[in-house]
Amino acid sequence: MNIYDKYETVIGLEVHIQLLTNSKAYSSDSAEYGALPNTHVSVITLGHPGTLPKANKKVIEYAVRLGLALNCTITRENMYARKNYFYADLPKGYQITQDKTPICRGGHITIKDKDGNERVIHLTRIHMEEDAGKSIHDQDPFDTLIDLNRAGVALLEIVSEPELKNADEAYSYLSEVRKLVRHLDICDGNMEEGSLRCDANVSVMLKGSKTFGRRVEVKNMNSIRNVKLAIEHEIKRHIDLIEAGGTVDQDTRSFDASKGTTFSLRSKEMANDYRYFPEPDLPPVIVSVDYIEKIRSTMPALPDELFNKYKKELHLSDYDASFLTESKTIASYFEDLIQKTSNYKAAANWMMGTVKNYLNENAITIDQFPLPAHQLSALIKLVDDGKVSSSVASQTIFPALIKDPGQTPLKIAETLNLIQESNTGALQELIKEALQKYPDKVLEYKNGKTGLIGHFMGEVMKLSKGKADPKVANELMKKELEK
């Protein structure tokens, strides 16, 4: 038996999501990313003497939105707390956060394990807090530079129970979180820019053991893939240490993406005592039942709900349903589309095929897609009515429509003379003409060589200049041959 198989892993994730609020959590400074350093810094952000925080109501709204989406219990009386520590990018010397009364408790995220089975990962809590500024260590040879634009930007921290069993599950969990926060429009989910950050708590223990092993916290992973790599590295490091007779130190580590390894930032002994206590400058925020219900009523359908709807009601495949719910913008385009057509399978095929290819080729997202849903549904109708074949629709009409989105698909088909022949009388004539050309082959067909029907159909298509409705022509052809 492989030594690594003797162990099981316990992982809990702390995910920070930076909220898409216009202003900061406790001041009216802009929260926009990417401005010149230290330009979004009022006296409140700078923590000047005498300044006081003022809670941004949007933060509460977003927290409730996320909490409802994750089936959490929403805390009615929310207290703020101070977390005290010294750091150069923390101007007040404390972070305003929540301690004993996180705005959301409980709840869960459903992930799929590597066999595609659903696993429910429970959440401990979600709380509101403010971001610190940024310490920039690599732009000046001697000094660390501080940018306080980010100081005070609103964050939610989502803390999971230690229920994830391996790096793949962590990957899947994070992907779900990112999908959801984007879907809810509360965070852009960009890990590279740090608007979604993840700390992983990892420990290993012998299978069947009831006591957790020593836990380490790993930070600074700037992609979901790196979270996975860091966890894989830690699991192996822990097991190797234990197998070699050593013990794991309970420390906080940083991931080095270039080496794929982690290094210790600080040991447990050096850990801060944050001296949490209730923030005296902010009165408790009461979240009323009415408020919660108001937010619930404005919630968009969630990716999970849409996934189930697409599978069960629209009978789409897992693959289709998960593509269509991967991003909120795709989902909402598709939702719009299926309001306008009842041919859901065709709608899904268009999205998965022609539309997706177009987006990929042009490196754009669906918001930049030039065709509104009603154009696409009209194109689907054209095919369904037998006026054009689906290949003509996607290969000829679709590109023409993109060039001239003001036109209707029907008009384009007419202009390009692409309306296919499904008039049975006219088709009948063509079929007779085609069969008359090959009397020998007709005989062979009648003697059992039914594969020849393709040959006859080819002739019909040729005679019709490609406009014959293949379905109708095929049926008529069979009837004619059986005469």
Binding site: L46, H48, P49, G50, L52, F86, G93, T144, P283
Partner: protein, 475 residues
Amino acid sequence: MQKFDTLQETRKGLSDKSISCTSVLRHFLSRIEEQKHLGAFLEVFTDSAIIKAAEVDEKLKTGKAGKLAGLVIALKDNICYKGHKVSASSRILENFVSLYSSTVVERLLAEDAIIIGRCNCDEFAMGSSNENSAFGPVKNPHDIKRVSGGSSGGSTAAVAARLCHAALGTDTGGSIRQPASFCGVVGMKPTYGRVSRYGIVAYASSFDQVGPLTLCVEDAASILEVIGGCDEFDPTVSSKPIPAYSEEIEKAQPPVKIAYIKECIEHEGLDPEIRAFVQNLLKRLEAEGHTVEAIDFPYLDYLVPAYYVLTTAEASSNLARYDGVHFGYRSPKAFDLESTYKKSRSEGFGIEVKRRIMLGTFVLSEGYYDAYYSKGQKVRRLIQEKTGEIFSKYDFIMLPTTPGTAFEFGANSADPIKMYLEDIFTVHANHAGIPAISLPLGKHSNGLPFGVQIMADHFNEASLLRFSKSLLNNA
């Protein structure tokens, strides 16, 4: 010469045009110069005050002047005024210039008050004698061998010595009322949440409150009416509308129900003359038709300990921002981040501030939080409940402001606990968040003044001020 010690008197002079704002200001500027030895002012804002006075004089001519036209007021050195220094009497903020004005300053200026300067105080408002200022003590105008009280010692001495009409102080555990008692002026701490704390250098956020120091109740009412009320920059301020206190105090005084706390009057640390004075006053009030009753207050011994646990906890966090990194003093010996913190803070803060930061850090630390901070909060809650109960039956609680009169410099310096017990009668109002006032009613045989304190229920400043006025007028 015509008297214009108070805003009341000045208004008369302005209306009959016997004086101008500029002449009043010049008078005070020269008084400040004469009384420099008191150490009341850290800086006189001569230029901005002269400009403002001229501006108000112009406005008076056209009848467009604000409600506080004629008022010359000083600020405690922990109140931010844009473009002016604010140091909290600390080396760590020496020469720090505020980039913005506190809400109270904005409101004073909007009503045409003239801000004459910033007054000395105990460093970060931590102290009861003004001996903790980094820039020297403040002498009591009644006896310069004695302290002015603290922490708003400079503000109080300035008013008592007639260096300005009024001053703003801050009161976290008695820092307005205690020096008011020592210097013989009116000092009021409003209800917590009555006046915005935006722009007040924080000591203990859930206790701090700004209030006026004046020579008469009328001026206190006029100032409170302007500085108080809802503020979008301080979410702890109440949205309750501000009554017109200056009109409220003119109404007739109805009979009231006064409670006095037996344990306070009988307190062994209380000066017998002060005890007798308060007892006589209570008797007189009863004779005048008011109801006067003794009540029990079982938490007297816990007031000061709980106060020092909770306020130091908040202070340890509030003062973390003075770290030498972004503003204020940075030690020239600092060579990296950690030494910047350690050296800047060690050199920048005075001993009492460091003592309180350490105490506060300790009571919040892991393993001690429940034993100290949580207990302190529980005690505070009990005090608040009991106080609410008292005010369901009584209008006021009357007690001495201080156990004694102003003491000599250095008298309490060796023993911080002894100094902390100076606050025994004043911290109650801060724990409970209720308004309280010290009135200069007493005169000790040692020649020094002492105050009588009255506390009222939350947001009952109007009746508190009215009753105070009737007491002072009948003194």
